[in-house]
């Protein structure tokens, strides 16, 4: 059997209170996780539930009090386990005095890349995350969304097999967060394992294969997303161009049987989709007329 991408065994983290070692703040209590290669795993939970701490322990940035974590079968505390991991921290901050190319070059060198291949990869990555304007500006002048994109590019620079994203869409506008979502789906298609802690549940629902929910440092729910959120005894029908009569007939049929009609409503598009369509038409009216005609 192959090693899981991430394995967490009996993880507990107690942050000691200074001068009072008997009392500690328990952040994570006996968490077990197993993430298979190629999965998109979402770690959910309210603020302060230990999401970020768990991710940091998996990356070897914080040492656990009890238990151990492994990445592709290698202990997180070993430096070489990080060879195949890309990390985007929450609210990433980079050296403010560097331009984005210098930043990526720096991180590439840390991963043992150099020369022409590094340069080419930086250009590809900047394309990929959609940063092609303002090459000479220092990162101090970047908006949060742009920093987040740099963070993503930085996480992918050495072509990792596992990508850990801590709130990848925080501070990115809607269109941008949609692009990041597409990017995550792309990574998944290429067989890269993604572990993320999304702060928007709607997006988590769109991209995650499996989710775990943390509350007060304990894993309270875990499993395949579809199984977790399906309501067993209910079925939805979505019908296009149904006449009034047909709908009434269906309702009568339902009433004749033992089943119960809970709700009847018009299908709606999401507000997100509406917003995206509206802003898209304004922004790209002149440059992208053809594409629009096809869409509408």
């Amino acid at each position: 059997m192959t090693d899981p991408a991430v394995a967490v065994h009996g993880l507990t983290k107690i942050f000691p209170v200074p001068l009072n070692p008997a009392r500690g703040v328990v952040t994570i209590k006996d968490v077990n996780l197993r993430i298979e290669p190629g999965e998109v795993y979402g770690l959910l939970g309210p603020n302060g539930s230990g999401k970020s701490t768990t991710l940091k322990i998996i990356l070897g940035l914080v040492s656990p009090t009890h238990g151990r974590t492994e990445i592709f079968g290698r202990d997180s505390r070993l430096v070489e386990s990080r060879e195949a991991v890309g990390f985007l921290p929450e609210n990433p901050y980079f050296y403010k005095y560097l331009t984005r190319e210098e930043t990526l070059r720096f991180f590439g060198r840390l991963c043992g890349l150099r020369g022409a291949s590094l340069k080419e990869r930086i250009n590809n990555l900047l394309d990929l995350v959609g940063l092609t304007t303002a090459p000479k500006r220092r990162l101090a002048t970047y908006s949060k969304g742009m920093l987040q994109r740099i963070g993503l590019a930085q996480a992918l620079i050495h072509d990792p097999k596992l990508v850990v994203l801590d709130e990848p869409t925080a501070g990115v506008d809607l269109a941008g967060s949609r692009e990041i979502r597409d990017l995550i789906l792309d990574l998944k298609r290429r067989g890269i394992t993604v572990l993320l802690s999304p702060h928007l549940l709607a997006q988590a629902q769109e991209i995650c294969d499996r989710v775990g929910i943390l509350a007060d440092g304990m894993l309270v729910r875990e499993g395949h997303l579809q199984e977790l959120i399906a309501i067993e005894n209910q079925t939805e029908l979505v019908i296009a161009d149904a006449s009034h009569q047909l709908v009434n007939e269906i309702e009568l049929a339902i009433n004749r049987s033992n089943a119960k009609l809970i709700e009847r409503r018009k299908s709606t598009t999401t507000l997100e989709r509406l917003f995206l369509e509206a802003t898209k038409t304004d922004k790209r009216r002149d440059s992208n007329d053809e594409g629009l005609e096809k869409q509408t």
Binding site: K56, L59, G60, L61, V79, E80, R82, E83, V85, G86, F87, P89, N91, P92, Y93, F94, Y95, Y97, L98, E102, F106, F107, R109, L110, C111, G112, L113, R114, S117, E120, R121, N124, L125, D127, L128, G151, Q154, H158, D159, V164, E179, D182, L183, L185, D186, L187, R189, R190, G291
Partner: protein, 160 residues
């Protein structure tokens, strides 16, 4: 549409991958951190302010040495070497004081240590960066001092 574009970019990107096996100790990683630290420090304004003051003081040593009739060169050397030593120490303090705390506060350290970088290499790289900065600034101040000394020698010693 962007989706497909992304996929192809990602593909190209992955073709150019030349994965190198991890080495437990690598000078290139240390050098990357060293030069990064050096850029960080040289882009601080404080560095230039200190350097300008040091150079000014060395330049002014000419004027100050004029006050003494017998020991002009002694005073010139005292002031210049004193300036070099004081400003190098000041620079060392300013450069190192915030070096690690700032990285931890800004959380830049997380992104670096999440790469395969041993902590020892990170600290070594930082130290090497500061040392390099001090070496460069000492060199600049020494050159200024030698220029001042040489020009005065030309004026005073050469018989006219």
């Amino acid at each position: 549409m962007t989706n497909i574009e992304n996929a192809s970019t990602l593909q190209r990107f992955s073709d150019s991958t030349t994965a190198k096996p991890y080495r437990p100790f690598s000078f290139s990683r240390i050098l990357a951190i060293t030069f990064n630290t050096l850029t960080e420090l040289t882009r601080l304004r404080v560095f230039y302010v200190l350097l300008v003051f040091a150079l000014l003081l060395i330049g002014c040593s000419i004027l100050m040495a004029q006050f003494s009739f017998q020991q002009e060169f002694q005073i010139l050397k005292d002031i210049s070497l004193g300036a070099i030593s004081i400003f190098t120490s000041l620079l060392a303090i300013v450069a190192t004081a915030r070096l690690l705390p700032q990285d931890i506060e800004d959380r830049t350290v997380y992104t670096i240590l999440a790469k395969p970088v041993p902590r020892l290499e990170y600290v070594l790289g930082k130290i090497a960066g500061v040392l390099l900065l001090l070496a460069i600034s000492t060199l600049v101040m020494s050159v200024a001092f030698l220029l001042v000394l040489y020009s005065r020698e030309q004026v005073v010693i050469t018989p006219r």
